[in-house]
Structure formats: C-alpha cells, structure tokens
Symmetry: C2
C-alpha cells in the first residue's frame, strides 16, 4: 500500500512509520521535515500535497494543535486554535483526500483520551477530541467506494511524560510504539467507524 | 431562581420554559421573539444580553444551527456553520456568562443524539454534538464558585417528525415535554458534568 503519514516526524507519526515501513510504501508529510511539507491549517497546502502524492491507499493524520489553559481564562480565540488546526485540519485532509484515495482505502485520524477522561486545562482538547470521534463514527456511514475511516484516541505518551506528568497524574502513559499498533489495525484491518482508545 | 432560556421560543425552549416558569423567573432570549433578542453567533450580542439581564442563576441554551448534507458534498465552510453557531455560540454563552452567574448557578447546553447514533447527512451535527458533550464533561472540572454545567442530548423530537421522519427511520422520537425534564434535572438538581441523553 501507498500510505501518507501526516505529522510523520512527530512522536506518534515516526512510531507509525516504523511500524508500517517494512510492509508498505510510506510517505512522510510534515510541517518542517519529511518527504513532503504541508500546513494542515491551510487548505491550499493540503491540495498541493495531494497533487504531489497522486493516488494513494491510506492517509494517517497524527498532528494538530490545541490550546491548553484554565477554563476561566480561555477565550473564544483560544478554542479556535484547536478547531482550526487539530479538528478542521484533519477533516480537510479527509474531505480533499476523497478525490484521490483508491477504492477500499482508509483514513485514520488522531483524537485523544481527554474527551473521555478529562483533566484541568484540557477543555479545548476534550472538545476537539469529542468532535473527531463523533465525526469519524458518522462519516464512516457515508464513505463511498468501500473507503474506511477510523480514529485513534491515545492516552498520554510515555515519551511525553517528562514534560506533561504534572498534568496527567494517575494516568497510565502508553509508549508510541503501542499507539502505532492501532494505526496498523486501522490501515491493515477491515474495520470502519471505530474509535481505537489506546490506554 | 432567575433562569435565562436562549432559544426559548423554539420547540425545546418553549417546553423548557413551560416546565420551569411556575417555579422560577424565566427570561426568554431568542433571535427574533422573546423578552430579549440576541444572535449567539455574535459575541457582542451575547455581551449585550448579559448586560441587560444582570445577575442570574441558570443559563439554558437550546439553540444553534448545523448544516446537514452528504459527506461527499460537504465543504469546510459547511462544517464551519455548526462550529460557529451551535458549538461556539453555546461555548461563548458559557465563557461570557461566568462573569455574572451567581455562585452555585448552572449552565445547561444542548447537543443531540447524532454523535452516538449517527445518520446519513449528519456528520456535522455529530461533530458538533460530540464536541459539546466532551466540552461539558471537561469544563465541569474547572467551574469556579460551585457553578455547574451539563448538556442535554435529545433524540429527534416528536414535534419535528413530520419534517424529519425520512432521515430518522427507526428512531424513537421524544416529545419536547419529556426533553424539558432533563433541563429541569440539570437546573434544579445537583449534578455536574453530565450528558443527559433523552431517547
């Protein structure tokens, strides 16, 4: 399969690339490094990326920003960051990708545990993750040409615990290599409309 | 209690007003009719509404638009309608309302069944409802001064079935009067961070 990994240079993305590269042709797309550059918040950048890649079998998105902050200090603009980047960035990858994905191809997006298991400062992340999970469940019903769509919802990464441990006390972290298995299941399996919680 | 019902002239809103008016002071705010007019997509209109109302005990939001359409025809702009109106309209009511809500007051928002039980053409509704449910669960953790927040997630209304029956085949519809009980539970009860599914 020809698989595009958006954010493929990040902690999750590079673990996914490692998991899939021995069996498939993997194209790494990222903001700065990788085989191709793109900015998921810019729809024309997404269009250009798909034009360069041509036909493909799977799109994996492992990137997107959200703003973390105290609820009482959050502004509408702070929420807009997550809606614009992690949410609509990934949705636009799906909407535009439908034109050039092969029959029976798959989209795999990334949400996160905070919609199910919330923490302080995480109301924007929760909002965006909840939106992504529900979108995928619904969009799966209407995918044409046997195209599938799933979302991986990981807990906090073990690799990120040195930075984030204080915010995630009591959470069991998961190594990126374990999270990567869920993307493999999504791309190489047959399920659709699934939310793969890795915790 | 002094209770503001946004969208209080709509099918759900008027049923909620009927349920609560005998026991509380109810202020109906809506786009065209009601005691006060506001446009939830315009943050300055929300500011003006709160200025007029002064201190209050409960805010109930029962309004907001989303675009329904086939996934393969939906554009980023179509999704933006729901994100701007039903999602951020309600979130802005909460963010701004925190300044003038009384201690131990409550916010009650409205999502809907399509994030849990999706239908064709409903991917934007699913997205927005999922975002609202997760936001409320997370925001409840950080509400100051014993303020509470819940969301009501109703199935299709019996009153709307003449228009929408074809889209909701096999769904059990719920009368607005039954949905109104969930708002009563949210406002007059003690729970917070809850998603009240009425189906």
């Amino acid at each position: 399969m020809k698989i595009i990994i958006i954010g493929g240079t990040g902690t999750i993305g590079s673990a996914v690339a490692k998991e899939l590269a021995s069996r498939h042709t993997v194209i790494i797309a990222a903001y700065r490094q990788g085989d191709l550059h793109l900015d998921i918040t810019d729809p024309t950048s997404i269009t250009q990326m798909y034009k360069t890649v041509g036909k493909f079998d799977a799109l994996i998105a492992t990137t997107g920003n959200v703003h973390f902050g105290a609820l009482t200090e959050m502004t509408a603009e702070d929420y807009q960051i997550g809606l614009h980047s992690k949410l609509m960035g990934q949705i636009n990858l799906v909407l535009q990708g439908l034109a050039s994905i092969n029959d029976a191809g798959s989209f795999t997006l990334t949400s996160g545990i905070l919609s199910c298991d919330p923490i302080r400062y995480g109301s924007s992340a929760a909002m965006v993750n909840g939106a992504l999970d529900a979108f995928v469940k619904s969009a799966a019903l209407e995918m044409p040409r046997a195209i599938r769509i799933n979302v991986v919802s990981p807990s906090v990464l073990t690799e990120a615990m040195d930075k984030y441990a204080d915010y995630f006390r009591g959470f069991e972290s998961v190594p990126a290599a374990r999270v990567a298995l869920a993307y493999s299941k999504s791309v190489e399996g047959a399920q659709t409309g699934q939310i793969y919680c890795v915790k």
